[in-house]
């Protein structure tokens, strides 16, 4: 946060001198090959420039390093524009560096400073938002770290002479515009306009020491902090040399982010009889910058007609090409350059500084002086630069406008959402509250603006609850503060703007959905400029809830549940089964369900099954609990309106982050109905459409089993548990249909549904007859049956199904009978650790079934 401080004594500049903030646009036409770095022609040689860089950035190691890296392919020569030669057949413009003069050129003391450019004056409501990038939220962690580093430098030097006594970073904020009109040699006009948002931080102050250790002034170095720019070009030009014609059409736009390289300096004179006054008046400043394009779409099409031959060449500047795809600004003024040694924190003598100044001249550099006016950098100038070619001449007309004012930087901090907060539905006790202070300095006020964006629009308020047509924003500002206007809804959130300036603002946010998610940013306008709040993580927004990986699940919940990463994952492991997952994504389990009127989330590592007891019978509830206990599944009994009765889909309000396992189809629940079944006790009725497609009645998970039907006369036994087993893909223990002399029956025997452990829920019981080892039909010894009480993991037969075929005495009639010995279960689908599935839609027989 910065505060304009024209009235601030720290920044008030009483007198004017000459400096130019000159901006030069590298003409794409003049460079021919658009992928080739465009070079600005200026008038300082490389050695001077290097020295200058050393002076202004000597202690900015990170910045300097970045400069070296990004500009490694660039010629750092400062050369002034000149009349360049250009041939029709030339593939590249031949722009040569001018000779740099080291002779001292006396500045014009009587120059009249231009009036402030009206078009670039700061206005409170139209002030640019800083940082410049207003598109997608930008992670500025790195830049903020730099910022913190810079601030500490200034603060640490607070006791030094000339340092900021407030201990605050001083920044210079404003706008600049550069417009180039490039006239074709024969005809045509190519226009380029670049709009800069300027945000310069004061990095170091060099004490200038005169005789007797007298502090005569300070030279303040500036560097870009988080400015940016946008630009566009269009038009066409044509040159003509004899019968040859060279036509180039231009179009495109570009913008640059906070990595633009801006450096500069300001001189503050601190004595009336400044020994540097003849060359460096109070308030003299210079700013130059050189941008790196971050996203460009500048293109040109060049058609060369060489008498009877024609040649067309189209080129574009590709995104990511970090050459000078956008505009290039550079020093282009009459201002002398201080040639300072690498800054070592020591004062600089007047003599050393005077000797260090270098001057240059050029026919076409800006001749105006640059000096703070009322403590601000502002001005406008236009220059016309003829460019000679081999057979004609072109004209470049450049107009520079700028308005930059000082401010004291204070960055309001936006606290992170409390780690353990999670969204709920309209719960006042769950309201989030954020308080932001403009500045640590007392009495500093600003106009606040809070923006909720990227807010979810989930249907209802849980995956199975709430209005299915509801697509309202899931987070909102609480409207009860007279300091703010009513929130305005945007496409993806809300904007809450203060109706007065405040030192401190407190806002409250409520969620209307258990899966609500969004981002919050705040800005404060002081002196016409919007400054962003910064989170503790160095970002310009926070997530609601706290969600570092931004997968829409609160981080604390992921930590609590032992998951992370993909919100669409469906990898529940417990209990084991045919595959992992239960049809609900991690996000859906986090967003949660309404279960018998109450909301709850579910365990993302444990498989959940939803059952609706449509007949509302306690017996069914009891059986569901027994099924849950014995299957180890987590079973939830839900009300009628907590699943879609027609489709049986439980997560009917599913939206974002659906389970990857279900492919957007949703997850069905099981409906248990008590109804007259005539002769049978229960039935797992499969979906008719699946039956039709398979031509048989499959057993499968809840997406296959349409209904579990139980006859009212069979509610007291284990029928419901057995049928619920089918509803999660458990099969009978064997599938062989014996035919023998047991008429009108399904006799027990090897590989039949009677086989395996006697206590298996999935087994048939109480056969009327069985086929013995002699292949004869016998009456089934029902008194040897056992109660079904378990789902089994071992197919080995127990009780009368165990052991070899044998004859034993039947106590019922006192005769010897062969034992039924139905043997081991053969169908792997009956095993609770192998077969259960909640995710399948329609599958084939398991082995041995």
């Amino acid at each position: 946060m910065t505060i304009p401080s024209t009235a601030n004594a720290l920044l008030a500049i009483p007198r004017a001198l000459v400096t130019l903030c000159a901006l030069a646009w590298a003409n794409h036409a003049s460079t021919d090959g658009l992928g080739v770095p465009l070079q600005t022609v200026e008038s300082l040689d490389q050695s001077i420039q290097e020295t200058l860089q050393g002076a202004l950035e000597s202690t900015e190691s990170d910045y300097q390093e970045a400069s070296k890296t990004s500009d490694s392919q660039r010629d750092w020569n400062y050369a002034e524009p000149r009349v360049a030669s250009e041939g029709v057949e030339a593939e590249e413009d031949q722009e040569e560096s001018n000779v740099v003069s080291s002779a001292i050129i006396k500045l014009k003391p009587d120059i009249i400073l231009p009036e402030r450019s009206e078009s670039l004056q700061s206005t409170p409501e139209s002030g640019a938002v800083l940082p410049a990038n207003s598109g997608d939220p930008e992670d500025i962690s790195d830049s903020m770290k730099e910022s913190a580093s810079e601030t500490s430098k200034v603060t640490d030097r607070g006791s030094n002479r000339g340092s900021n006594e407030e201990g605050q970073s001083v920044v210079w904020v404003g706008q600049a515009r550069i417009t180039h009109h490039n006239y074709g040699g024969a005809e045509g006009l190519h226009t380029v306009q670049v709009n800069h948002t300027i945000y310069l931080a004061e990095v170091h102050r060099f004490d200038i020491i005169g005789e007797d250790e007298r502090l005569v002034g300070q030279l303040v170095s500036l560097r870009d902090k988080k400015g940016g720019w946008t630009s566009f070009q269009d038009g066409w030009t044509r040159s003509a040399c004899g019968c040859a014609r060279d036509i180039t059409e231009f179009t495109g736009s570009a913008y640059g982010g906070s990595d633009q390289k801006i450096v500069g300096w300001i001189y503050h004179s601190m004595v009336e009889d400044d020994p540097l006054g003849d060359i460096l008046p109070n308030g003299a400043y210079s700013v130059k910058w050189d941008d790196i394009s971050t996203d460009s779409s500048f293109t040109s099409t060049r058609t060369i007609i060489k008498c009877s031959e024609s040649f067309t060449k189209s080129q574009s500047i590709l995104e990511g090409q970090q050459a000078v795809a956008g505009p290039t600004w550079s020093l282009q003024s009459s201002m002398p350059i201080p040639m300072l040694p690498s800054h070592d924190g020591q004062p600089i003598s007047v003599g050393r500084l005077r000797e260090a100044f270098q001057y240059y001249k050029s026919d076409y550099h800006d001749q105006q002086t640059r000096q703070l006016i009322d403590g601000k950098m502002r001005g406008v100038y236009t220059q016309k630069i003829p460019i000679a070619t081999s057979c004609d001449s072109k004209l470049r007309e450049e107009t520079q406008e700028w308005f930059v004012q000082p401010a004291i930087e204070v960055e309001p901090k936006l606290a992170e959402t409390p780690y353990r907060w999670r969204p709920k539905r309209g719960d006042e006790n769950n309201t989030l509250e954020f308080t932001v202070t403009v500045s640590d300095l007392p009495g500093v006020e600003g106009k606040f603006r809070f923006t909720l964006f990227d807010v979810t629009r989930e249907k209802g308020w849980a995956v199975n609850a709430g209005d299915r047509e509801d697509d309202a924003l899931d987070l909102r500002f609480v409207e009860d503060d007279e300091n703010f206007l009513a929130p305005k809804e945007s496409d993806d959130g809300w904007v809450l703007e203060a109706n007065r300036t405040l030192e401190e603002a407190t806002i409250r946010i409520e969620a209307d959905d258990y899966g609500a998610w969004g981002r919050l940013r705040c800005e404060v306008n002081t002196g016409g400029w919007w400054f962003p709040c910064v989170s503790m993580a160095g970002k310009r927004y926070i997530t609601i809830p706290y969600d570092e990986d931004q997968n829409k699940i609160a981080d604390f919940w992921e930590e609590q549940k032992g998951i992370s990463g993909d919100a669409t994952a469906d990898a529940d492991k417990t209990p084991e089964g045919r595959e992992s997952g239960d049809g609900f994504s991690n996000y859906e389990e986090y967003r949660g369900f309404q279960i018998q009127g109450l909301w709850r989330d579910t365990e993302p590592t444990e498989k959940d099954l939803f059952v609706h007891n449509a007949s509302n019978r306690e017996e069914i509830t009891s059986s569901v609990r027994e099924f849950e206990t014995k299957s180890s599944l987590t079973v939830h009994e839900i009300n009628e309106d907590e699943l879609d009765r027609a489709s049986r889909i439980v997560n009917f309000n599913r939206g974002i982050n659906q389970a990857v396992s279900r492919d957007q189809k949703g997850q069905a629940g099981v409906i248990v109905v008590v109804q007259e079944l005539d002769d049978i006790c229960g039935k797992a009725a499969s979906d008719p459409s699946i039956e039709e497609s398979l031509s048989w009645s499959p057993i499968g998970g809840p997406n296959v089993t349409q209904l579990v039907l139980v006859d009212p006369s069979c509610l007291y036994g284990t029928t419901t548990v057995h049928e619920l087993g089918h509803a999660v893909n458990l099969w009978h223990p064997g599938g062989r249909y014996l035919v023998g002399d047991c008429e009108d029956s399904l006799p027990a025997g090897m590989d039949t549904p009677y086989s395996g452990p006697l206590n298996n829920y999935m087994r048939y019981r109480n056969a009327e007859k069985y086929i013995g080892p002699d292949n004869k039909c016998y009456k089934y010894p029902k008194h040897l049956e056992e109660r079904r009480s378990a789902f089994v993991t071992d197919p080995t037969g127990t009780g009368m199904n165990a052991g070899p075929e044998r004859w034993e005495y039947n106590t019922l009639d006192g005769k010897n009978y062969p034992y039924p010995v139905s043997g081991d279960a053969t169908c792997s689908g009956t095993l609770i650790d192998k077969s259960p599935s909640l995710n399948q839609d329609a599958k084939t027989y398991p082995t041995g079934c």
């Binding site: 509302n616 306690e618 005539d678 002769d679 049978i680 009645s697 069979c714």
Partner: protein, 239 residues
């Protein structure tokens, strides 16, 4: 909407004397029956985990049922054909009472029960009277629940005449004969029903492969087991 109020203090006497704990859910089930017979309403009050003993004052209620969309609700009479009974389904404990409603409730009407316990109003689910397509099942279910052997015998006999290739008639008549203690006849009817069942519902498909979700005629098998045990003078059996 018309409200039908009946006194049911006696129902709560069971609760009073049973030391029944605080109710948490009131469930209502309707067996529609068929005119001119009765409908049945089963009211089930299940207890929560609380050990609080019901206070007698809670039972001082005269309002129990509310029937909606019924034009003749004033003529509807509720009687209790049997004493209330307690239940315990795997830890879900409670008390139930059966109410015979005459004339039978009209299809489409909704019925809900309401009572106040310790100043807490408990409302049951709202049940809508819906009849099966083959309404003899509705009549037969009521007859079974009321141990009305004669009605069941009539239904079974009529179905045997009209649908001899179906199990219903033999099953219902077998049940009725079992109620009447005519076990040999009952067994014969149930065995006949079983034979028809296997004819109509073979366990295997045309390829001889067993139908995965085929279930045996357990209701018939249970009936046979009961009848045979009754014949032997014993009772009980697993499951």
């Amino acid at each position: 909407m018309t409200r039908t109020l009946i006194k049911a203090a006696w129902f709560w006497c069971l609760l009073l004397t049973s030391g029944f704990s605080l109710a948490e859910q009131l469930r209502l089930t309707v067996y529609p029956g068929q005119a001119p017979g009765s409908s049945l309403v089963m009211l089930s009050l299940s207890a929560g985990e609380s050990d609080t003993v019901i206070d007698p004052i809670w039972f001082d209620t005269t309002r129990l049922f509310e029937i909606s969309n019924s034009s003749d609700s004033e003529l509807i009479k509720f009687v209790t054909p049997k004493a209330p009974w307690t239940f315990d389904f795997g830890g879900i404990k409670g008390v139930r009472q059966l109410f015979a409603v005459k004339p039978a409730l009209t299809t489409g009407v909704e019925i809900v029960a309401e009572l106040t316990v310790r100043e807490q109003r408990i409302v049951s689910n709202r049940a809508k009277v819906a009849r099966l397509q083959d309404d003899f099942r509705d009549s037969a279910r009521v007859a079974i629940l009321l141990d009305d052997a004669q009605t069941l015998l009539t239904i079974g006999g009529r179905l045997i005449q009209t649908q001899p290739d179906q199990t219903h008639g033999y099953r219902y008549r077998g049940f009725a004969l079992e109620m009447l203690g005519r076990y040999p006849e009952a067994e014969e009817d149930i065995l006949k029903a079983r034979t028809i069942f296997f004819e109509n519902n073979p366990p295997a498909d045309a390829d001889g492969r067993m139908i995965p979700n085929w279930e045996p005629p357990e209701i018939l098998d249970r009936a046979l087991r009961r009848i045979r045990l009754a014949e032997q003078g014993s009772s009980g059996g697993t499951d």
